[in-house]
């Protein structure tokens, strides 16, 4: 375990922020209270390590080698399996973490509701991939052969319609000077690279767009609630809203860039080798920006019917898991103000989990964490 930073007073608040997403780590949906809201990343020797905030009173982040995680606290059985999964597959980014978490949740070790949701989400993912693919193909056809598109759209679900789509794609491949199977493969890769975000013209909202929307809903709700409150609760709500706002501002710009890049899939596939890293980078960046926000948004929005005291307790829990923006993402005239607020103010609010001191399992917290899984996107 790394030593706590004793040089705090000589550093600027900003220097407590991670500099990149990889340094911030990927949120691990553990249900063991001590490791709730912790993040995994690799160290300078490429070994996995876990960043834990719940046994420090906001004074810093504890770094635990991944292999030592089960030794420091008794993991729930769900977490035992997730821990192994992350280790074996070296899960280090939000996409892979989501899949790992869903697969483990299907075991039922986090409860039947989490298992049901996970099974549903995995199926929805496949549907989303398939729909995204169809939408891209139809867009390519529309852009390349506008007059053919409406008829093909009507018939696409029929075997004959699908045959005609293939024929049309062959013609387009020819025009693009690509072999048909190459076009097919590139469209498939484009589909895989874009489906988590979803294309702008899709009738079905992409998962990451949905998380953005939910986070925006949370932000607006926090500000409205903060207006009615005074003191600590109001400050904390505004702070959470501020962090969400900065994150969403960057997300919106990334989305604009993404939508601009993907607007013409026919053009993209022609220069796919050049475009692929750009699109994957934008999609990946959005996933990193939104990593950890969905459970926070769910916690807040689901607490709407509770009273001030209970909401204040929810806020405090949210603060301990708030995904702070890495240093390199904080830009513009607000830089100093945002960096200072994020790094130093949150540290005064985060409490340690009592359970590590008493050794008793906080079974209410375990149940709440499992409940978040049952809602996971």
């Amino acid at each position: 375990m790394a030593m706590r930073d004793k040089m705090g007073s000589l550093r600027t608040p900003e220097q407590f922020l991670p500099s990149t997403f990889e340094e911030r780590g990927t949120a691990v949906p553990f249900t063991t209270p001590m490791y709730a809201f912790a993040r995994v990343r690799k160290d300078y020797r490429e070994r996995l390590e876990l960043l834990v905030t719940r046994f420090s009173d906001g004074a810093g982040v504890y770094v635990v080698p991944w292999t030592a995680v089960p030794e420091l606290a008794q993991l729930t059985t769900h977490d035992t399996v997730l821990h192994e999964e992350v280790l074996q597959k070296r899960v280090l980014n939000p996409y892979d973490m989501r899949m790992a978490a869903l697969v483990v949740a299907t075991t039922g070790l986090a409860g039947p509701e989490a298992a049901e949701t996970a099974t549903k989400r995995i199926a929805e993912d496949e549907e989303s991939k398939a729909l995204n693919q169809v939408i891209l193909i139809l867009k390519v056809i529309e852009l390349a052969q506008r007059e053919a598109a409406p008829a093909l759209l009507r018939e696409i679900l029929t075997p004959a319609g699908q045959m005609r789509v293939r024929e049309t794609l062959f013609q387009i491949a020819d025009k693009l000077e690509l072999a048909p199977d190459l076009l097919d493969r590139r469209l498939s890769e484009l589909g895989l690279g874009t489906y988590p975000v979803g294309v702008a013209w899709s009738p079905m909202e992409g998962r990451l767009r949905g998380i953005m929307k939910r986070t925006e809903e949370m932000r607006a709700s926090l500000l409205a609630w903060a207006e009615d409150q005074l003191g600590e609760a109001s400050e904390q709500a505004r702070f959470c809203a501020q962090v969400a706002e900065h994150t969403l501002r960057i997300c919106k710009q990334v989305l604009v860039d993404f939508d601009a890049e993907v607007a013409n899939p026919a053009a993209i596939v022609a220069v796919w080798d050049e475009k692929r890293p750009v699109i994957e980078n934008l999609s990946g960046r959005l996933a990193w920006l939104l990593d950890g926000w969905q459970p926070i948004a769910d916690m807040w929005l689901d607490s709407a019917a509770t009273d001030v005291g209970a909401r204040a307790a929810t806020l405090e829990e949210m603060l301990s898991m708030l995904p702070l923006l890495p240093r390199k993402e904080i830009q513009g005239p607000d830089h100093d103000r945002v960096a200072e607020a994020m790094a130093s103010r949150r540290r005064t609010w985060v409490r340690a989990a009592e359970d590590w001191r008493t050794g008793e399992v906080d079974s209410d917290l375990v149940q709440r964490l499992e409940g978040l899984k049952a809602k996971a996107a």
Binding site: L75, L109, G231, E232
Partner: protein, 427 residues
Amino acid sequence: MNDQEMQEASIEEISERLQTIAEPKFLAAVQTLSAGAVLPEVDRLMTAVRPRLRTLRPPRAPTLKQLLCRPFEDLLHSGASESENGIPRTAIADLWPLVTSQDPIGMQGLNAKLRTIFPTDARGIQALGAQLWRRAAKSLGQISATDEAARHLRAMRDALAAADVIEAFKQAVPIKPLPRIGESERNVILETLRKLAADSLPANGFLLVVAARLQSPGNLLEALRDSEAGVPKAAIQGLGTFAIARIEDRAIRFEKTISTARPEDLAREAERLIGDLATTHDALDAKGRSELERRTEGVSAVVRTMLGERIIDAAPAAIAAALPGPDGEPSKENLLAAEAHARAFSRSRRIAGLLGLERQATSVAAAIRKRFEARVDELREQARAAPEQNAAAQAGIYQSVRMVELAVGAREAAQLLRTARPGPSSP
């Protein structure tokens, strides 16, 4: 049916009607009730409709009367006047005329000003409240210190005199109920006590409000006992009386819900009640302890019987619902019910020792563990005999591991998981 019964029946009918009428009519009815006279019947109706009101949360500015009560609203209860569990809502009927009659013009002025403040202008409302509380504390003047009938008025006066610091405390520590007093809360409390002492203001109003906002009022006694806060003995005694009354009230409510509440809720409340009893007992002086024991005599026995019968003895059958039955695999609802009981059982084990139920609980835990270990062995055998059913067997194994985790413990479940799996591999 006598008059009392007829009245109860009418209130119940009205209450039911209020729960089902359309939102706008409901909100209008509540507004009328809130602005009207403070009567026990009205109070009972408001208590019944509060859950629905909370979900609708219309933005509304408080009335002057509500604002007046804000510093001690955590102490208000709907129980009998004799209860030492805070301040009965009916006492507001005595307070209001005393406050308004002293300075009717001033109060009218404040009321008019309140109507101009936007409902969401928390700062504006608070600022006006501060003026109101100062006036009210002054209006209450000299209330007899020994007149039992004036007990509630004294409590309200003391809270109003300390209103600024009480409101500041609520803003600094907004969580309610606060599960425990941590370092930062303790500092706020001690700092506030120092300020009250420096301003020669009574501490008891503030202390009672803090206690009312805690999950266990005994925590405050504990925190003050360990500090050098120099709190007057009378205030500590008042706090002790309040803590005892709260536990007594809680125990009565607990007993009433035994036959209808879910096992998980019963176990949670039982754990808190017993924990509260233990904390408060340790924090009181000898006289307080004796009073606590007298007033809560029988509580432990009631909890013991409930835990023993409804949770511990019932656990094997309730948890076995997670196993396949004559109709095949358990439904999701059966699984959830089995899990809920498993959690209740696990929670009951935390206080079983205090109630003389440890041996019984340990024996039941061992039986549950054995049952699910046998199930895991069955499934492993099935998978060996018919590999094509491996996935179904694996699902059953995980389910059994989970039940052991919830009912017996994570350590035992981890051992079972290790024996059931060949080694670290994908689920």
